[in-house]
Structures are given as structure tokens and as C-alpha cells.
């Protein structure tokens, strides 16, 4: 694949398209915008613009040095999203995973602790079947873990709280299938201050992930979109 494909259109999945430096997803709920993003038609199909400065996953897909499609889950799969926030990334993931009226048959379980965020997510869930918002603590698996009968092949975590790496490792052990992909969005400032500089903090995290049986495929610096953030892409090793 050509690097610096500025101005080149490219389909990353059935629903996600990269147009120059912008990402677009087919709108699963036509004629409505979720967080004020722009809508546009490409050959008769309505797309929503995926704003990378509002979504860390979107930022990572633009910043990655590999094929951005590698960061996406399989369509129609079941995935787990910890720390769903107001549903920016979640809505685009839903476009890709489920599509309109969930014709792909996907299941997107998203967990967040804040009632304020859940309010937005439950609104979103009303018009987007396949999206399952859960009000709960990302650390307390037993409260909502029964909703995940089988392990998933794709896991995303963005909780911005101390101990997020430990939560991620535990969640990966519990929910991630072998060879599944776990994405951890890490804010350096959220980790406990150890006197190390940022690069050291990120290096420590990578080591911790490797020790826990996750091969770090890529660590993507989100600078420019989300400062002091790094997105780690870990692949779960088999028999770990």
C-alpha cells in the first residue's frame, strides 16, 4: 500500500472509507448526525465523517503506520468497549460492526461508569440495534460479565483512570480470545506519577503488556489529535 496516500480513496471495510486524510463510515441511522459530524453522500450512500480529534480510535486509524483496517473488528462480530464515553467512537464502530438495522448481526457491548455518558449511549442504542450500553464499573467484571458468554476478538479500553493498564490486562485475560486484538488508549497523566518521563511511562506499559501475554503490534502516538496519548495495539498470544 502506498504511503502518504493523500487524496486517495480507499475502502477499509464495507462501511469504512478513507478519503485522503478523512475517515467516513456508512451511516447506520441515515439523516442523523450523532455528535455534530458532517454527513455526505458518496455515490448515493450516506456517510458520516469520523472526527479524529473527537475519537481516539479514529485518530489511531489515521496515525497508524500499518493498514488502518487492521485496527477494526470483524463486521458482525461481538466486541467489548470499556469506557465508552459519549459514544463518538462507539457510533462509528456500530456503523461498521452492525450497520443499518443491524443487518450484519453485530453486538457492541459498551461499559461506562458515568450516568451522564450512559444517557447519551442509551439514546444512541434506541436508534442503533446491536449497541448495548451497560452502566457499570469497567473493573467489576462480575456485575456485567454474564452478558459476554464467549470471548471476543476485539476489545477497546479508554478509561483514563489510575491503574488502567492493570484493568486492561485483566480484561484481556477475561474477555479476549486467543489471537484477538486488544486496544488500549493510554493517557500518560492518568498513570501514577513515578518520576519517569512520558516515553518511559509508555515503555513500561509496553513491557507490562508483553509480560501479560499480549504482543504489542504497534504503539500509535496520537499527538496532534490527543496530546500525551498513546494507543497500544496488543494481540493475545495463544496458550497464554
Amino acid at each position: 500500500m502506498a504511503k502518504n496516500n493523500r487524496g486517495r480513496k480507499e475502502d477499509l471495510s464495507w462501511a469504512v472509507r478513507k478519503d485522503g486524510r478523512a475517515l467516513w463510515t456508512i451511516n447506520a441511522n441515515p439523516r442523523s448526525s450523532v455528535y455534530g459530524e458532517s454527513l455526505r453522500r458518496f455515490s448515493g450512500v450516506e456517510y458520516r465523517r469520523w472526527d479524529p480529534s473527537r475519537s481516539k480510535l479514529g485518530a489511531a486509524m489515521i496515525r497508524t503506520k500499518r493498514n488502518p483496517a487492521l485496527l477494526l473488528p470483524y463486521e458482525g462480530d461481538t466486541i467489548l468497549y470499556l469506557g465508552a464515553g459519549h459514544g463518538t467512537s462507539v457510533s462509528h464502530l456500530h456503523d461498521h460492526l452492525c450497520g443499518q438495522d443491524n443487518h450484519q448481526g453485530g453486538r457492541l457491548v459498551c461499559v461506562d461508569l458515568a450516568p451522564r455518558c450512559l444517557r447519551d449511549l442509551t439514546h444512541l442504542a434506541d436508534s442503533r440495534p446491536g449497541l448495548i450500553p451497560v452502566l457499570g464499573d469497567a473493573r467489576k467484571f462480575s456485575a456485567w460479565g454474564v452478558l459476554m458468554p464467549r470471548k471476543v476478538r476485539w476489545l477497546f479500553q479508554d478509561v483514563s483512570q489510575a491503574g488502567q493498564v492493570e484493568i486492561f490486562i485483566k480484561a484481556a485475560n477475561r474477555f479476549l480470545a486467543d489471537d484477538g486484538i486488544g486496544l488500549l488508549s493510554l493517557k500518560a497523566a492518568s498513570e501514577r506519577w513515578t518520576g519517569d518521563d512520558e516515553a518511559q511511562v509508555f515503555a513500561n506499559v509496553a513491557t507490562a503488556l508483553e509480560q501479560a501475554g499480549l504482543t504489542v503490534e504497534e504503539s500509535i502516538d496520537l499527538a496532534g489529535f490527543e496530546d500525551n496519548h498513546m494507543l497500544f495495539e496488543g494481540r493475545k498470544e495463544e496458550n497464554s
Binding site: P115, L118, T122, I132, G136, S142, V146, M148
Partner: protein, 338 residues
């Protein structure tokens, strides 16, 4: 032997992962029943199917689905239809949880305190503007301590003449035009309604804080207690803060400046508003802040864990301690002699 269960079914497997027995909830999965089951599980309880099997196989280790120790087995996972019902129930449960957030006194207190802050800022700005405005037309009017009644006085006057009479001032040679006076009077009306709204907001804060934080309200007054609790992000977190943090809550800027540049640390944050500190001489404010902050964090723990609230007698003990500090340090101490 292992006993596995989720929200719908329970099963027993031997150590080789062969299913020995299973109990599956048969039904059309009514939503309220699923919610009930999910709530039982969230609280760490067992569903009825699991209880039946636990009686049948008392030697089996009971573990919820997902526990690491459980061996791999052909557990009776929910089929698509059952899973869809569970998903629908989970969404309803989330909606319920969001609705329940309205009952959270911490959230309610936060809105009240923030709203009264904004109302106060708006009121003070408008009041200052009104005073300047009136003084422009009536240069020799004197209000003294009666500034707060000015809004009412202005709104009750029909024209500048009447206002001048009420304020005992002389009429200027040039006055406001008719429309200008009308605007001024309505502005005065606004100031006095804001005053009333502010009072009602603060009363609401007082009522809720006295209920939610009884000990701290007794110790430092409901308004200050409410502010500290909001600043600490909720009663439970307030109770867990060390008293050193309670002491500088609200002085974050000075505190982080201290960490960054080594400037002297702040002695007090919001608790400075308390007369024990603000009305004490400078050289003992730090000492009193420390004492008071430690008492506040004790009271916060009593509030959060709903112990017996403090009474006036308890507060008097604290006051005695403060008096003692005042008595022990009647004059500033020289830094050289320390």
C-alpha cells in the same frame, strides 16, 4: 466438580469438563425477570437454578461464568434468542440506572452549589452596575450597608424624583429619558429578583446539605460543607481524602504552583471562609486550618458511613481546641527563634 452459572442457566461439570447435570431457566424471558436476575448476579448472589444444583451437588465449587478457575466445558451458553432478551434487559437496566442518578444527593448538591455560585456572580455584577448607574444620576446618594436593598428601592420608584426622595438625594439638572428610566427600573427589578433566587438556592443547598452531611453541617455550616463535598467529588470520596487535602481543597492553583515552583504552600482553601480561620490573626490561620481540616475529615467519615451525627456539644469541643491555639499564640512568632 464445578458448578457454573450465568443469568439463565446453571450446570455441573466434573474435573474433565464433562457436563454432569444442568438446569436451564425455561420461560419466555420476561424483561423484569431478567433484570432481577442480572441484579442478583451484580450483587454477587446466585440464581435459583444454581441453588437447585448446589443442593444436588454440595461438593461442587460454585463459580459465576467467567471466573478464571472454571475449566473449559460445554456450558449451556444462551442461544441467540436468549442473548437478545438479555441485551434488551441490559439496555433497560442502563436506562433505569441513568434515571436513578437523579436520586444521587451528591449530583443534586453539585448542581445546587454550582448554580448558586453562578447566581451569586451574576447578582453581584448586576448589583454593582446598578449602584454605579444610580450614582450617575444621583451623585450625592449614599447607600452604606444598604446596597442590597437598592434593587427593591429602584423597582418600587415610579420616577427618578421618587427615588431621589427615598434615597434622600438631590435631583440632578439632567435626568434619564423616559425609556432610559424604564430600563433602569427594570434592571433594579432584575437585581432584586436575583437576590431572592439566590436566597432560595442557598436555602435549598442548606436543606440538602444538612440532610446529606449532618456532622459537617453542624461543624462548619451547611454551605461550606456542601462546597467541600462538591469539590471532593462526592461524599464518599470526601470521606476518603486525607485531611491535608481537605485543608487545601479550593486552593488547587496555589497548591500546584507550590509543587511546581516551590513557592510556599497554601494554608487553606475553601475552609478559609469559616470565621474561625478568616477572623483569626494571620499567624495562627495555618494552625487552625490544620486542626479544623482534621476535624472536618472525621466528620466527613461519620457522614459518609452514616454514623451518629455530631451535635453542638461535639462542635464545642473543637471550638475549645481552637481557642486553645489562639491563647497559645497571642503574638506572631519570630521565624529566627524557631
Amino acid at each position: 466438580m464445578w458448578l457454573w452459572y450465568d443469568w439463565r442457566a446453571a450446570a455441573v461439570a466434573d474435573d474433565n469438563g464433562n457436563i454432569v447435570d444442568e438446569e436451564i431457566w425455561d420461560g419466555h424471558y420476561p424483561e423484569h425477570a431478567i433484570i432481577e436476575r442480572l441484579q442478583i448476579i451484580a450483587k454477587g448472589g446466585m440464581i435459583s437454578e444454581a441453588k437447585v444444583l448446589a443442593e444436588r451437588f454440595p461438593e461442587a465449587t460454585v463459580l459465576l461464568h467467567g471466573e478464571e478457575k472454571l475449566p473449559d466445558a460445554d456450558w449451556p451458553f444462551p442461544d441467540d434468542e436468549a442473548q437478545a432478551s438479555a441485551d434488551a434487559a441490559a439496555i433497560s437496566m442502563s436506562k433505569l440506572g441513568v434515571a436513578m442518578a437523579a436520586g444521587d444527593p451528591d449530583k443534586r448538591l453539585e448542581y445546587l452549589v454550582r448554580a448558586s455560585d453562578e447566581m451569586r456572580t451574576a447578582h453581584l455584577t448586576m448589583e454593582a452596575r446598578l449602584v454605579e448607574w444610580v450614582v450617575l444620576f444621583l451623585p450625592d446618594a449614599r447607600f452604606g450597608a444598604d446596597r442590597s436593598a437598592l434593587g427593591k428601592t429602584v423597582s418600587e420608584s415610579d420616577d427618578l424624583q421618587m427615588l431621589a426622595k427615598k434615597l434622600d438625594a438631590e435631583l440632578p439638572p439632567v435626568g434619564p429619558s423616559k425609556s432610559e428610566w424604564k430600563a433602569l427600573r427594570e434592571f433594579g427589578e432584575g437585581v432584586s429578583t436575583f437576590r431572592g433566587r439566590l436566597d432560595r438556592l442557598e436555602n435549598a443547598v442548606r436543606t440538602l446539605a444538612t440532610e446529606h452531611l449532618p456532622s459537617n453541617s453542624m461543624l462548619i455550616g451547611p454551605l461550606l460543607a456542601a462546597r467541600l463535598c462538591v469539590e471532593a467529588h462526592g461524599r464518599m470520596r470526601f470521606a476518603r481524602l486525607p485531611s491535608g487535602t481537605v485543608q487545601v481543597l479550593g486552593a488547587e492553583k496555589a497548591f500546584f504552583n507550590h509543587l511546581k515552583t516551590g513557592a510556599p504552600p497554601p494554608k487553606h482553601g475553601h475552609i478559609f471562609m469559616h470565621p474561625w480561620i478568616s477572623r483569626s490573626p494571620k499567624w495562627i490561620r495555618g494552625k487552625i486550618s490544620r486542626t479544623l481540616a482534621s476535624k472536618i475529615s472525621i466528620a466527613a467519615k461519620i457522614d459518609a458511613f452514616e454514623g451518629t451525627p455530631w451535635t453542638e456539644a461535639d462542635v464545642e469541643l473543637v471550638e475549645l481546641r481552637i481557642e486553645e491555639i489562639r491563647k497559645n499564640f497571642p503574638t506572631p512568632q519570630s521565624r529566627l527563634n524557631r
